[in-house]
């Protein structure tokens, strides 16, 4: 039984994306003005990673059904 690599990839980005997005909501906006041109990069990029992670897990699940 082999490991489908899409599960760990999906899970990793779900977890990391969630951490970044939550941190983006609760963190001091000053750090975004100081660093990322005022853009809340943690929140937005965290959300994108959550979407990517969900797609990966979804692909792994549909792949497992077929196989």
């Amino acid at each position: 039984m082999n490991l489908d690599i899409r599960y760990p990839i999906g899970l990793l980005f779900l977890v990391v994306g969630a951490i970044l997005a939550i941190y983006g909501v609760v963190s001091d906006p000053g750090i975004y003005i100081a660093h990322s041109l005022g853009l809340n990069v943690n929140l937005w990029w965290g959300l994108i990673q959550i979407v990517f992670g969900a797609i990966m897990v979804g692909l792994a699940k549909s792949g497992a059904k077929k196989g």
Partner: protein, 577 residues
């Protein structure tokens, strides 16, 4: 030591989560490692897209990420020739023309193919030189990482070496090549997610591509080049004096494009091993083609940050305040710090953890790739061939695991030996030039000329490597301060306008010497292999793969796929002409 990047708890948490996943993948695979084939070749079970991304990622070590960004700052968009002239055509050639022989021969390694096609001594020569090179490369990755982490985060050199070595050791020891390949895929996505926002923010800061172009005019003209020298890839290749790379188009296309890149991508077992692990011939041939698609876009991820960094630094040096500035080093800038300084500048805590994790991941997969190539070559091509033949497979699995431990210990030794150079990539290119450049001539003749003999191949390789060393020993780049840069044979016959130009011409000399010597010696000696022994190893004696593609629709076949990749690459070249 004062740290440059201020890591928060969130950043440490992200690093820790990543390493839990890395080790977890090794742990999850531990039960599938039943024999030496599982451990060293993944028992040919990897899907094409996984092998493809691993193929790309195995090369994404210190050389790629740090070196390409450094070159982006030093040479501008011309650095993309390493991709658009170098890597991509070579990868297409590997997938379309060479993979049928590699995969079809059932060879477990590149040296083993040489044994099947030529003879024992050719394999031995290649296996030994390759084993030394992997250890050297792995050590450089480790050294570079430890040095960087010390500088950026204040971590001790010894601790960084120990931790990175231990993590790589554990996940390879548990899950073998499959674990390394899976982690390379994970690392690929980490690099994309870690660096894409950096490029986005950097470009936004300089006013997009047009703003960057405008800002780089000053960088070009202040060094005496035409205004577009940093942003036009081909327009300034008429003469070495017109561009910062110090090469003309012939040396660039032949030296980098044809000899160095084909030598690396088509014959280096580190990358070829990923394709050999694919589960079918079609998947193996698609591996480099799948890798080529993201590869052609990587200049935007790794070279662009360097160009943005030098543009902002130039601006800051001319009086603008509050911007980004590279640290100075020996009267110039410390180009190797482009990526980490950009991460520290543009990323707040949180994203900073992700970006730094991507960087660490790339260093570690640089090590892991080399260690997995080393343990295979050691076990199959050196140990099984010369030390202990005909042992049960459990014995070779044991040896392979032992070689993993020894390989990592030797890498640590190499890390401590690694000296400091201005640009890590120049050093690696030099090693590739000596060892890999003649190799491509051997494979080209071996695969497409059935008359090439074992004696021809061996002495061709030997003379090609000797020619590379001799050329490097008799020439220097302008302003060379040490014998490492060339001229160590005492007489200097030619002075090149840059180190790059010297490296490219070293490669051209090595390839040509090997090619001519192999042809001449082959014609003077008789082949010990019969036509039936060479079936599946040489073009003219192998039934063409295209016939077996009969049922597959045209758009899914290998050759059209390769053609599409080449056309897309051509378009990129034209856009950035």
């Amino acid at each position: 030591m004062q740290s440059i990047i201020h890591f928060g708890n969130i950043d440490y948490l992200i690093v820790a989560i990543y390493f839990v996943f890395v080790l977890g993948i090794g742990w999850a695979l531990r039960r599938t490692m039943k024999g030496s084939g599982d451990f060293l070749t993944s028992a040919r079970s990897i899907p094409g897209w996984v092998a493809g991304l691993a193929f790309l990622s195995a090369n994404l070590g210190a050389q790629e990420v740090i070196g390409m960004a450094a070159s982006g700052a030093k040479y501008g968009i011309m650095t993309s020739h390493f991709y658009w002239v170098g890597a991509i055509p070579a990868m297409v050639f590997l997938g379309v023309f060479m993979m049928p022989f590699y995969y079809g021969s059932k060879a477990r390694s590149v040296p083993e193919y040489l044994k099947l096609r030529f003879d024992e001594k050719t394999r031995g020569f290649n296996a030994l030189s390759f084993a030394v090179m992997t250890i050297f490369s792995s050590g450089i990755s480790m050294y570079a990482m430890a040095k960087l982490m010390g500088l950026l985060l204040g971590w001790s050199f010894e601790a960084s070496i120990a931790i990175s070595a231990l993590i790589v050791l554990v996940y390879i020891f548990l899950g073998g090549l499959t674990s390394a390949i899976y982690n390379e895929v994970l690392q690929f996505f980490m690099i994309v997610f870690g660096f894409a926002p950096l490029v986005f923010l950097g470009l936004k800061d300089v006013g997009g591509w047009s703003g960057l172009k405008e800002k780089l005019v000053g960088v070009s003209t202040s060094q005496g080049f035409a205004p577009g020298a940093w942003t036009e890839a081909w327009s300034h290749l008429g003469a070495p004096s017109q561009n910062p790379l110090g090469v003309e188009w012939f040396g660039m296309v032949m030296g980098l494009g044809f000899v160095l890149s084909f030598g690396y991508w088509c014959t280096d077992f580190l990358v070829v091993q990923r394709a050999l692990a694919a589960k079918t011939m079609t998947a193996a041939r698609r591996t480099p083609l799948i890798a080529a698609i993201p590869k052609m876009l990587f200049p935007f991820l790794v070279i662009l940050p360097g160009m943005i960094a030098i543009a902002l630094t130039h601006q800051a040096a001319n009086g603008a305040t509050g911007g980004f500035m590279l640290p100075a080093k020996n009267g110039s800038y410390d180009y190797d710090l482009v990526i980490p300084y950009m991460l520290g500048h543009y990323f707040p805590t949180g994203m900073l953890g992700l970006g730094m994790t991507a960087l660490m991941a790339s260093f570690m997969s640089g090590m892991a790739g080399n260690v997995t190539a080393f343990n295979t070559v050691w076990t199959y091509d050196i140990y099984q061939s010369y030390i202990a033949k005909d042992k049960p497979d459990e014995h070779y699995l044991f040896v392979a695991k032992g070689a993993t431990v020894v390989g990592i210990l030797l890498s640590i030794a190499a890390a401590y030996l690694a000296a400091s150079y201005n640009n890590i990539m120049d050093v690696l290119q030099l090693v590739f030039a000596f060892v890999n450049a003649p190799l491509f001539a051997t494979f080209l003749l071996g695969m497409f000329w059935k008359r090439a003999t074992g004696h021809g191949a061996f002495w061709g390789l030997f003379l090609g490597t000797a020619a590379a060393a001799a050329h490097h020993g008799l020439t220097v780049p302008i302003g060379a301060m040490s014998l490492v840069k060339g001229g160590w044979l005492g007489t200097v016959l030619h002075t090149y306008p840059s180190e790059m130009a010297q490296n490219f011409w070293t490669a051209i000399w090595a390839f040509s010497s090997c090619f001519i010597a192999t042809v001449v010696i082959s014609l003077a000696t008789s082949s010990r292999k019969t036509d039936s022994q060479l079936r599946g190893l040489v073009w003219s004696l192998t039934p063409h793969e295209d016939k077996s593609e009969g049922d597959i629709p045209v758009w899914k076949r290998i050759a059209p796929f390769g053609a599409v990749v080449l056309i897309l690459t051509l378009i990129l070249n034209i856009i950035f002409w």
